[in-house]
């Protein structure tokens, strides 16, 4: 299995297209950081517009707010919605790519079961996803900390502003990145499942992108009828639960309590939903693949 996994990883990282995602992430992060460095205060004016009537919003306040933790959160807010599309590039190619090149039949002549073969393929996709996330963490978190320094993290939610002490932030990022790994693995599993049906990688990649886009839009719809009927069952609704690690418990005077999370059971529930999806997608992919006539 391990040898097979090594071969799969070699194949993934030999392909130039694998590095498109790394390049895209680096481009987005660096462009965002440069923009924030030179014009971050204008960006902040948009979110601070609501509080500037009641509170002092000086340039010094804005520059303190624009610290590495804040920049990283803003980047994750943008990128973790788009990143599933990058993850699909590899997972969608896992089986369909082999079928397209005509190597699938040859691969299955090895003394491994189809289940093992599929599991190895999926594990390779997970490793790629994790590396992508580590790359994002290095650039967005540590890069921003280096360029912008650290301070308290302030998060502007729709109806609440959350503030946490700088020493209470790092563990939240580790937890959030851990959660993001599960969320992206769900997309990877979906692309992997679709990959079984196709004989060309483009199909599953585009299909995954379309499904993620449609469901994300549906998750963000402000239509009450969907809130309890549709949204709780969409994996895209639960993919944003990484943010829950930055929602802090507060006492009756709205004083935040260090080291707490507002609703940990909800995050764990969301994670449970994603794990069910992963098992469902991968299980179905294996089940179909085991019964499939491999003609290429």
């Amino acid at each position: 299995m391990l040898k097979l996994l090594r071969i799969e990883l070699f194949k993934i990282f030999k392909r130039p297209r694998t590095y498109i995602a790394f390049g895209a992430i680096a481009a987005v992060v660096i462009l965002f950081q440069v923009g924030m460095k030179f014009d971050g205060k204008t960006y902040l004016d948009l979110v601070l517009n609501n509080v500037s009537d009641s509170f002092e919003v000086s340039d010094e306040f804005k520059s303190k707010l624009l610290n590495g933790y804040f920049i990283c959160f803003a980047i994750l807010n943008i990128l973790l919605i788009q990143m599933p599309l990058l993850v699909a590039l590899v997972a969608g190619d896992a089986i369909a790519g082999e079928a397209n090149m005509g190597t699938l039949r040859l691969s299955l002549t090895k003394p491994v079961s189809r289940t093992q073969y599929m599991l190895v393929k999926f594990m390779a996709s997970i490793i790629y996803t994790l590396l992508l996330l580590i790359w994002l963490a290095v650039l967005a978190l540590f890069g921003s900390m280096l360029v912008f320094g650290t301070n308290s993290l302030v998060i502007f939610r729709s109806e609440v502003i959350e503030q946490m002490n700088s020493y209470d932030v790092m563990w939240r990022y580790f937890a959030a990145f851990g959660y993001a790994a599960v969320a992206l693995t769900t997309v990877s599993a979906l692309a992997f499942l679709l990959s079984v049906f196709a004989e060309n990688a483009i199909g599953p990649i585009i299909a995954t992108m379309s499904i993620v886009i449609v469901l994300t839009i549906l998750s963000e719809f402000n239509i009450p009828i969907y809130d309890k009927t549709v949204k709780p069952y969409l994996f895209t609704t639960h993919m944003v639960a990484w943010k829950g690690f930055f929602y802090v418990q507060a006492d009756s005077d709205n004083k935040t309590i260090d080291g707490t999370i507002q609703n940990l059971p909800a995050i764990l529930r969301s994670m449970g939903v994603l794990v069910i999806y992963i098992v469902g997608f991968v299980g179905t992919a294996i089940w179909i693949f085991r019964r499939k006539d491999i003609l290429t």
Partner: protein, 223 residues
């Protein structure tokens, strides 16, 4: 006997002008100060930790609150935390005596600025006459609503400086479109107090631990 007591009280009673003069004299002892303190912000839409702050003041009305270890949401009009600010009015003010508040035994005096362009419309002071200390002040402004101050005094009472100040101020609604924030709905219910008016008020509480009085504060601090 009752008549005699009343006469003694009348003889000893201070005129509102005297009360204000005594309070002002006490506050005038302070040219500048810097103080360390802990600041607690209580606003319905802000969840924030207690901040360690440094408060700088310089006559006549310069005040700055610095959170050196982090970020703090400082309310507009926080300069009013400094009581001396009430008396900063170039054209002076008319004084109206409202008598003694029965429950607290504090003298209530209203100040009406004579300057028509002054942002402050009215200040109501609740004064402990015996110590010449303002215990509570309500200031109504043209632009920024009404501010309220509650003071608790300790070892710096001789300078008219409080150990604890609670500053209440008006807040406006806060809302950002969900399309920008992409919030995660964790099912937690939005905190709402039964008193809607209370939601429109914010509170900042500063508990001072140490004052350094009349040792000089550079102007650069206030820039």
């Amino acid at each position: 006997m009752v008549l005699l007591l009343s006469m003694v009280l009348l003889v000893n009673a201070q005129t509102p002008d005297d009360v204000i003069k005594n309070v002002k004299a006490k506050l005038d002892k302070v040219n500048d100060y810097q103080a360390k303190g802990k600041m607690k912000t209580n606003v319905i839409f802000i969840k924030a930790p207690v901040a360690n702050v440094k408060v700088y003041y310089k006559k006549p009305n310069k005040l700055r609150i610095n959170n050196e270890s982090g970020i703090s949401f400082i309310p507009k009009g926080s300069v009013n935390i400094n009581l001396g600010n009430i008396f900063v009015n170039t054209n002076g003010f008319d004084i109206i005596d409202m008598g003694i508040e029965a429950k607290t035994n504090l003298r209530i005096i209203k100040l009406l600025p004579r300057d028509e362009n002054s942002d402050v419309v009215l200040s109501t002071l609740y004064i402990d006459e015996s110590q010449s200390l303002i215990k509570k002040a309500t200031t109504t402004t043209k632009e920024n609503g009404t501010y309220e101050l509650h003071m608790t005094y300790g070892k710096y009472a001789d300078y008219g400086l409080a150990d604890k100040v609670i500053f209440s101020f008006n807040i406006k609604d806060y809302k950002l479109p969900k399309g920008i924030t992409f919030d995660y709905d964790d099912g937690s219910k939005k905190k709402e107090s039964p008193d809607k008016l209370k939601d429109k008020k914010g509170k900042v509480e500063i508990t001072y631990s140490d004052y350094s009085i009349n040792k000089g504060v550079p102007d650069s601090i206030f820039k």
